[in-house]
C-alpha cells in the first residue's frame, strides 16, 4: 500500500492567507492543488513536504475570463473546465487539442492548469501549449504581484522561477487572429506524451508573421523550438517550409531515452508532430477544421 509520509495540513481561505501559511510553515511546505502530480510523488517519497497548504477553496482562482482582449485562466481551473470552455475552444484550439489528450476524464476533473505549469514536468502538455502561445503568468508572493512570460517561467525539470511563498494566480493569453493546433503521440489512451508539438501561426498576406512552436517531453529548452520559429517567419505557410521547420525542431530539441523510446525515435516524432501541428494550424487559418 502506498501512503504518503506524515505532514501537516492547512486550508487556505484566500490568496493572501495561502502566502501567509507558506511563509509560516517555511520552505518544506508545499501548495496542493489537484494533487494529481504531488500526491503520487508523495506516495513514492519522491516528494516529502512537511506541510501541505490546500488551495482548493480559492474560488477566485477558478474562473476563465476574457479581460481586456486577453484570455485569463485561473490557476485552479481544472483540466475539464479548460476543455469545456467555449471561449478557449474558439480562440485557442491548441489548448482544446492538448486537453483532449491530457490523462483521462477522471484525472482531468481534478488536475489544474496552475498545478500543471508549476509542476514543470517535462512531459506536461500545457507547458508547451502555453509556451507556443507566449502566455504570461501572474504570480503573487510576500512582495506583491509580478508578471512572468511563460518562456521565462521554467528553470528546468520540476523547477520554476516561483519563490518559496509565491502562488501562481492566473495564465493570460492575448486573443488574436492566430491559428493553432496540438499533436501528441502516446503509447496508450491517457498516457503521458512520448512526444508532442504545439503550433501557433499568425498569418498576414500569405506570409507567416509570427510562429510559436512548443515541444513536450523531448527536452526542448523552455518547451520551445526557437530556431524553427525563426525559420518560419517571413515565408509562406506551405508544406515545404513546414517540413524544414520540423527538421530544425527535431534537431534542436534534446530528448533522452527512456521506457517511452530511444532518442532518434523521439527526434523523429518531434519533427513529424511539428509538421502535423503546423499543417493543422494552417488548415484552421483557412477555416478548415483539422
Amino acid at each position: 500500500m502506498q501512503v504518503p509520509a506524515t505532514f501537516q495540513y492547512a486550508r487556505a481561505t484566500g490568496v493572501e492567507h495561502a502566502i501567509e501559511l507558506l511563509t509560516r510553515y517555511g520552505p518544506e511546505a508545499r501548495l496542493v492543488a489537484g494533487g494529481h502530480s504531488l500526491l503520487p510523488m508523495m506516495k513514492l517519497r519522491l516528494a516529502q513536504p512537511e506541510a501541505l497548504i490546500d488551495i482548493n477553496g480559492l474560488d477566485e482562482l477558478t474562473r476563465i475570463r476574457v479581460d481586456g482582449g486577453e484570455l485569463a485562466v485561473g490557476a485552479m481551473v481544472r483540466h475539464a473546465g479548460l476543455l469545456a470552455s467555449a471561449v478557449v475552444g474558439e480562440h485557442f484550439p491548441v489548448l482544446r487539442d492538448a486537453e483532449r489528450m491530457i490523462a483521462d476524464p477522471l484525472v482531468r476533473n481534478r488536475g489544474t492548469v496552475g498545478g500543471s505549469l508549476c509542476q514543470a514536468d517535462p512531459s506536461e502538455d500545457l507547458s508547451a501549449a502555453f509556451c507556443a502561445l507566449r502566455a504570461t503568468l501572474v504570480a503573487q508572493g510576500p512582495d506583491g504581484r509580478r508578471v512572468v512570460p511563460v518562456r521565462e517561467f521554467f528553470l528546468g525539470p520540476y523547477e520554476t522561477v516561483l519563490g518559496e511563498a509565491e502562488l501562481l494566480l492566473e495564465v493570460r493569453v492575448p486573443i488574436r487572429s492566430h491559428a493553432s493546433a496540438y499533436r501528441k503521440v502516446e503509447r496508450r489512451a491517457g498516457d503521458w506524451a512520448v512526444a508532442a508539438a504545439a503550433a501557433v501561426l499568425e498569418l498576414s498576406g500569405g506570409v507567416v508573421t509570427e510562429a510559436g512552436i512548443g515541444l513536450t517531453a523531448v527536452g526542448a529548452p523552455r518547451f520551445v523550438a526557437e530556431e524553427a520559429e525563426r525559420y518560419l517567419c517571413g515565408g509562406p505557410p506551405d508544406e515545404e517550409r513546414f517540413a524544414e521547420a520540423g527538421r530544425v525542431a527535431g534537431e534542436e530539441c534534446r530528448p533522452s531515452a527512456d521506457q517511452r523510446g530511444p532518442v532518434d525515435y523521439k527526434r523523429h516524432l518531434a519533427a513529424e508532430l511539428t509538421v502535423r501541428a503546423l499543417r493543422a494550424a494552417a488548415a484552421r487559418a483557412q477555416g478548415q477544421e483539422a
Binding site: 494533487g35 500526491l39 506516495k43 490523462a103 483521462d104 476524464p105 477522471l106 484525472v107 481534478r110 491517457g190
Partner: protein, 169 residues
C-alpha cells in the same frame, strides 16, 4: 484532524490523519467497501467516486480535502431496493466478470448519462478511458451503458421518481 464528509447524503464525522487517502477513509473508516482500491498509482480507476458531483480517483485525493464536501459512492447508486438503470444495464448485458472494476465503471457511467443522455459508443469509451478492466474487453461495459441510456438511464434519480417507474423491467 476532525473532518465531516457527506457520503451518499449522510454526514460522517471522523478523526483522521492528514495523509489518509479518501479511498481508505471510505473503505476502512466508514466501512463502505463498494469502492475498490487497486493500482494505488492513479491509473486504474477502480477507486472512482464522485466528489462534488464529478467522478475522481479517490486514491489520489486526501480525505481531509473532502472535509465539508460531498461524496457519492456505488452504495449511493441504487434507490432503496431498486437498482439504478446503470446497475440494471450491467446485469442485463453481462457488463462484468470478476466485478473488480465495476463500481468505478458504474459511477462514471452514471455521471456520463446525467450529462449526455444519448452517448455514442465513442463517447462511452472516452468517458471510461481512465479505468481499466482486465476481464471483459470493454465490449459489454459499453453495451451495458448503452442499455442504461436506452432504458431511461438518463433520468436523474431521486427527483424523478415518476419517470423511474418506466425503468422497471
Amino acid at each position: 484532524m476532525q473532518i465531516t464528509v457527506t457520503v451518499n447524503g449522510e454526514r460522517y464525522t471522523r478523526g483522521v490523519e492528514p495523509r489518509l487517502l479518501l479511498v481508505h477513509f471510505l473503505r476502512d473508516d466508514l466501512g463502505l467497501t463498494g469502492t475498490h482500491w487497486g493500482c494505488d498509482t492513479s491509473n486504474c480507476g477502480v477507486c472512482a467516486v464522485w466528489l462534488d458531483g464529478a467522478p475522481v480517483k479517490s486514491c489520489t485525493v486526501l480525505a481531509v480535502m473532502a472535509d465539508g464536501h460531498e461524496v457519492r459512492t456505488v452504495e449511493g447508486l441504487a434507490h432503496g431496493a431498486e437498482l439504478d438503470p446503470v446497475q440494471q444495464g450491467f446485469v442485463a448485458c453481462h457488463g462484468l466478470q470478476c466485478g473488480f472494476c465495476t463500481p468505478g465503471m458504474m459511477m462514471t457511467a452514471r455521471w456520463l448519462l446525467d450529462h449526455d443522455p444519448d452517448p455514442s459508443e465513442e463517447d462511452i469509451r472516452e468517458a471510461v478511458s481512465g479505468q481499466l478492466c482486465r476481464c471483459t474487453g470493454y465490449e459489454n461495459i459499453v453495451r451495458s451503458i448503452r442499455w442504461a441510456a436506452e432504458h431511461g438511464g438518463a433520468a436523474r434519480p431521486a427527483e424523478e421518481d415518476a419517470g423511474r417507474e418506466e425503468v422497471r423491467t
